[in-house]
């Protein structure tokens, strides 16, 4: 077992983990933050996307030990003071989700995308989200949500 210290959603967690534990399993099973979903086993679907030191990463592509000393935000940490993040609000306003399983990862990827490119074109949004799969929406309203958030609508 290896000791790690990770700041997640503003709280410092000191944990002992097996070296092989994936970050997503640590987040879900040790910290109990089950908003981060698992949709595949090949790092293809992006359902487990989180922010690591402010950047979107798929939390199945890292070992928990690689997060030692770093700062993580999960979907549970996005809303502030009981108010949903503007991206979460944009998804709700534009019906950017249906079953909601890809949604936490999609929202985390989308917020990261706008941080890098605050005024993306539709094509830039589509390209920027290509690592996150959705089976319900056909992406139409996801793209609309991200563009609306960028426009401050």
């Amino acid at each position: 077992m290896v000791k790690i210290c990770v700041t997640v959603n503003g709280t410092v967690h000191e944990s002992e983990v097996e070296p092989r534990t994936l970050l997503v399993h640590y987040i879900r099973e040790v910290l109990g933050l089950t908003g981060t979903n698992i949709g595949c086993d090949t790092s293809s679907c992006g359902a487990c996307s989180i922010h690591l030191d402010g950047e979107s990463v798929k939390s199945c592509t890292l070992l928990a030990v690689q997060a030692d000393g770093r700062t993580i935000t999960t979907i549970e940490g996005l809303a502030q003071g009981g108010e949903m993040h503007p991206m979460q609000q944009a998804f709700m306003q534009n019906h950017g989700l249906q079953c909601g399983y890809c949604t936490p990862g999609m929202v985390m990827a989308a917020t990261s995308l706008l941080k890098e490119n605050p005024s993306p074109t539709e094509q830039e949004v589509r390209t920027g989200l290509e690592g996150n799969l959705c089976r319900c929406t056909g992406y139409h309203n996801i793209v609309k949500s991200v563009l609306a958030c960028a426009a401050g609508d």
């Binding site: 097996e18 879900r28 109990g32 933050l33 089950t34 908003g35 981060t36 979903n37 698992i38 949709g39 595949c40 086993d41 090949t42 293809s44 679907c45 359902a47 999960t74 979907i75 549970e76 996005l78 809303a79 949903m84 979460q88 998804f91 709700m92 306003q93 019906h95 989700l97 249906q98 079953c99 909601g100 399983y101 890809c102 949604t103 936490p104 929202v107 539709e122 094509q123 949004v125 589509r126 390209t127 989200l129 290509e130 690592g131 996150n132 799969l133 959705c134 089976r135 319900c136 929406t137 056909g138 992406y139 139409h140 309203n141 996801i142 793209v143």
Partner: protein
Amino acid sequence: MTLVEDGPTTVLGTRLLRREDPALLTGEAKFTNDLVVPGALHMVVVRSPYAHAAIAGIDLDSALAAPGVVAAFTGADLAHLWAAPMPCAWPVTTDMKNPAHYPLATGKACYVGDGVAVVLATSEVAARDAAELVDVRYEPQAAVVDLEDALSDRIVIHPDLGTNKSYQWDLKIEGTPGQVDQAFADAAYKVSERYVQQRLIPIAMEPRAVCAVPQPFGGDLTLYSTTQVPHILKVMTAVTLGMPEHQLRVIAPAVGGGFGSKLNVYAEELLCVALALKLGRPVRWNETRSENAVATTHGRGQIQHIELAADADGKLTAVRVRLLADMGAYLQLVAPGVPLLGAFLYAGVYDLPLAYDFSCTSVFTTLTPTDAYRGAGRPEATYAIERAIDALADTMGIDPMELRQRNFIRKEQFPYTAMTGLVYDSGDHEAAAAKAAELADYAGVRRRQAGQNVPGATKLLGIGQASYFEMCGLAPSRVLASLNYSAGGWEAATVRVLPTNKIQVVTGTAPHGQGHETSWSMIVADKLGVSPADVDVLHSDTAIAPLGLDTYGSRSLPVGGVAIAMACDKVIDKARKIAAHQLEADEADLEFVGGTFSVKGSPDKAMPLAAIAFEAFTAHNLPDGLEPNLEAHTTYDPPNFSWPFGTHICTVEVDTETGQVEVLQYVAVDDCGVRVNPLIVEGQVHGGVIQGLAQALFEEAVHDGDGNLKNGSLIEYLVPAASEVPSLTLGHTVTPSPTNQLGVKGIGEAGTIGAAPAVINAVVDALSHLGVRDMPMPASPNTVWAAIQSAIGPASQGASK
């Protein structure tokens, strides 16, 4: 003079935002594998790596000795736990062959992924590690992968059946004997086409998960599952395990998509229940994505032969269809019925005389079992007729839109009794097609095409149309009986007005992304004159909603939603009695508007529902003989299917040098009758269209000759990403259903039904002047390029250089 106030407003038809969203957006929603269950054992299924192999022996010793392992079992170890084989609810013919199969295979494995043993451990990781140690000795046999090969019975998969043929189901309708043959003999034009509906992997984003929790004191058990069908699952689990149904509670927590793949009774559900009862501990199972690719049902898998006969004007005179359908290794819950759901639709939206000849033969293969996948039978049928219509237009040398217009069932012909005897309750295909043509600028694209698709051009423009009729909203129970379906098609609803005038609705539908909580609250708000926010919708827990037939086949709104409206009517009837009593008025003199009963002509004499609800609760002053409380229950069996329709038009550009297809525009005009919440309707169409487009361009479960799935992960199986698909242009027409009081029709599958033929028609249209007459799905760059090369031939290639 005062300005006229806004008239009575209704929430129906508004774009009310979904109440489901905040929990899903913030990570608060709990999916099955999010549940914290103390003391649960984790089950892992050991699966056959062979498509067809005798199981010569299984050694569990090493697995049992591994850290954390509590138990491990083979199929033989558990054989005594099953009271009946795995259920198939749709024995379509009396002589249908249905091989008995159980949650774990014994004797032989019949597909890659067939479960042969289970390991249970105190953690998922320990169970997975130990499952690797299970030593199974297989004796591989030849696989049966090809449908026509299967039909030859060269290798019989289930020797006790003596054949790979499960059933043949025929539907021949003729006005006079021999009419079909005569129509083909007399036809001015004929086409005979062969289409392949490739196997698809449904890929709901949430893989399956199960957790069975025995309750202390009394032998009850709660089964949590990622299912579309908690009610059906409860009945079938009780039957299969021989356990008392009233001791089983099934809960579908948040469910992450289904598309038909969670409309089944799965081995893992039965295993978790049986082992939880056997071991007296909770047992849970989480599917990996790679496991999902082989262990969860596939969709489609049909070879279609369709022939059309037409007169000199292109008017259809007969349709003949021969279908070969892939059931996979064993029959699943509704798999045999899937081709039948399309059987009535091979004449599509066209006015056909009594000359229809359909026959379906279904076969077993050594592949993952198939079952419903978004549209189930109807996308396949629509694809065949809509592709064949384009082929007929090509043969006649006329525009396919013109040919469709010559054949459409006209608006004034509705209600239209089709040659199959089914009554299409309403429709206006010409209006939907005209609107789609306008949105797509059909005439403009044709003009551009003439300028663009010139000799030597490498970027070719194509436009394709598909018009569809969908038979959904399953269904009148008596019709289902005539098709040998084992269940009914009703839906249940309870509407309960609480003492404080908040409303509880209990529905038998089981949403998994469709937003029923929002839409059902709108229906109740409209009926009872309350705010949607005052309506709570309870579902997907058989202890709370004990009656229901769940969510599939675009049935939830036209059956379940209508049931809720009818229960509201019963509530209003009872409330009217109380109001009449309290107001000392005649019931007939009361009108109910905006949540208040008032005496006609004396608006001051009024009583709001809120007051009635409290009176019903206290029961201090009710009419003689009237029971306290204000609630009503309805079970609604619809008089007809639901018949949504529409026209989709796709415009593509095909690069002849790379074979790449780019979708330039996709227009969908759908008519689902009255739209309760257009926001949700549009979302259903968006998702459906992209799933159909994905069948056309990207997706196929590819197996090698040994029955191995070659693309069983999301790296190789091409679920499209946002970057690979277009934004969509939607339009709609509204032709209310005359068979239900809301005027609604289903919309869950329409997009998928229209999309695949529209896209492929466009691709073929772009290339038709090169001699390309058909395009297999998926129309990948390789496939498109090969089709072009095949059409233009080596001589032409040389000549063009």
